[in-house]
Symmetry: C2
Subunit: 363 residues, 2 copies
């Protein structure tokens, strides 16, 4: 029996998508093969890959001057790739630090600096606020002629989200791993968007990059070809064999999102889910979420119990009730409910019902 | 209905493995989740990952002083990673050129040289022989104190295979993408073995690296962490989210291989399959394979027709007969039958039966 899975990633996938993949697993569309057993250059597979890209372009209204790349290595490999591609000799890149994932991106850009005398500038940080709010843009110290400005719109671990898209002269780069496709997005505001698939797109092992064409072709000469946006774009993300099953399954998710009414409809559902959960937490003396209200994540909802000693009991009882993976990230503890696109409102209602009962018994 | 799939990669996967993945797709072992929806750090997933590694270690009798890494990016990302990890300042790496995949590995190592004044030496090439044989080691011009020696034991496109493991003072590195697990292998002869999964292991998007411990910890300081063997080993291949479904499915393939009797049994089957096909080709005036007999690949069998004008007809009729993906690589043309572990002898017999009939009708 399927449970409600609140895992932060790899995360729940729409059941209808899994059912279709299951049906097609041994023989995709009477081809005599699984989609996994098919050449990525075959007409059949190319049609699957192209439809996935077309559906994604429709969902996000991606402008024609942006390339969509289906890559490997997760957001973490992009932390490096961004610098190899876009941080030129002696240039400075601005980074906004709003939590653990911002910091990982910063670390990997700094590692690259030695290669060409480039620099990383932390233009703003909410460290002093214990990462409970996003620093207002009026306080940022951006660099003139920066190579780019990087930020993390949604911090998966902290549950901290931007409530604005930054205004920058330099190309804006954002790690949308944990919030892509959760609501409509004005892609034209960005130079580059990237996202690991395993939260709101599909299975782990696929990484989406949406990059403005003028930002390609600038990579450092020693950049590994698989990290080079221009090379991957020229090869249609098939410089070598792409993660074909993940690309296919993500395409099924894109179809499902279109059937749900697209991203405006998903936004309404996601907003309702998050409001339901935050309202419950705020109305309780037993549960607490510390994030500044305008910066609360719609996707990842961390919360603590009045008595931290009850955490193990909470996790054991919630799991027994079919509410899975509610432990917070190992680096911060507490609880966290990730409520991506595949989580229905009913799952959130089942969670709050359990939480209410648990508070009553233990409060 | 399942067909016989001779694709060079992504290639056929054992039907029993696909059936099991299909059964488990929506609810893995009563967990309430698909394996794809499970945290890579959960006890359940870690048990799957560890069993896959243990089974692989058993299959290949991997010595304890070797790490097994489950990575992303295919062999192509390894072409770069090898240089970033192992080609030190001013050092020379020796490469053996036996075809298209050797050359790709050489190109990416050369791209790295500018970073630290390192060099690539083509110690031997069979170019003068049109890549129809492997150059005898007595003719190689190896570098004293080379950082490593790299070769391609099986050229997937050319169908050219080494019939010996080179003897080298420097660490030996080999791209086993298209022949790993096809026969027993003395891993202790190598410094590093790597292989994209999509031929003889599992779905595309997973890459195996088997690396001797003393070769880790030497990476160039700007190496992206995901390409750094020491960092990935320290993190159990989970520096970030690994390709969890591919790792799981590969584990099912390893179990299947053990059930088949392990690699000695697979070698007997693979040898019989290849002999059957080469014997048929050699006994025919209509079909031809040009590779020197000792260097014929047991996995990839290229062949030409007496009249190249009949290729399209051959491909159309073989496909109609349920014999799929027999076209040669787009760079060389002709035909190619890839007969990896998942191809039963019956598939090869069906192919030769078709080929005999086709020759009779068109000879």
């Amino acid at each position: 029996m399927r449970a409600y899975n609140f895992c932060a990633g790899p995360a729940a996938i729409p059941e209808a998508v899994l059912e279709r993949a299951q049906q097609e697993m041994l023989d995709w569309h009477q081809s005599g093969m699984s989609i996994m057993e098919m050449s990525h250059r075959s007409a059949e597979y190319v049609s699957v890959a192209e439809k996935a890209e077309a559906d994604l372009r429709q969902l996000l209204a991606i402008p024609a001057n942006y390339k969509v790349l289906f890559l490997q290595g997760g957001a973490t490999l992009q932390f490096s790739a961004i610098a190899f591609n876009l941080l030129g000799e002696g240039q400075t890149a601005d980074y906004i630090d709003t939590g653990i994932w911002s910091q990982k991106a910063i670390d990997d850009a700094k590692r690259f600096n030695a290669l060409n005398g480039s620099h990383v500038n932390i233009a703003a940080s909410s460290q002093a606020d214990q990462y409970l709010s996003v620093p207002a843009q009026s306080t940022w110290q951006l660099t003139d002629n920066a190579a780019y400005v990087h930020y993390t719109p949604n911090e998966t671990i902290g549950g901290l989200a931007f409530d604005f898209i930054p205004q920058t002269d330099a190309p804006l780069i954002a790690d949308f791993s944990s919030c892509i496709l959760s609501e409509p997005l004005d892609v034209s505001r960005f130079g580059l968007i990237y996202a690991g698939a395993q939260k709101n797109i599909g299975p782990a092992g696929l990484t989406l990059v949406i990059v403005r064409e003028d930002l390609m072709g600038r990579a450092h000469p020693v950049t590994p070809p698989l990290l080079n946006y221009g090379v991957e774009a020229k090869n249609g993300s098939m410089l070598n064999t792409p993660p074909t099953f993940g690309w296919y399954l993500s395409g099924l998710v894109f179809e499902w999102l279109l059937e749900q009414g697209g991203l405006a409809a998903m936004h309404a559902k996601n907003h309702a889910k998050a409001k339901y959960l935050y309202d419950f937490i705020d109305g309780s003396d037993f549960y607490h979420n510390p994030i500044a209200h305008p910066n609360r994540s719609m996707m990842n909802v961390p919360f603590t119990l009045a008595d931290a000693g009850l955490e193990k009991t909470f996790l054991a009882q919630s799991q027994a009730a079919g509410l899975l993976n509610l432990a917070g990230h190992r680096s911060v503890g507490g609880m966290r409910a990730s409520i991506y696109n595949a989580m229905p409102l009913e799952g959130v209602q089942a969670l709050t019902q359990f939480m209410a009962e648990f508070a009553k018994q233990n409060g």
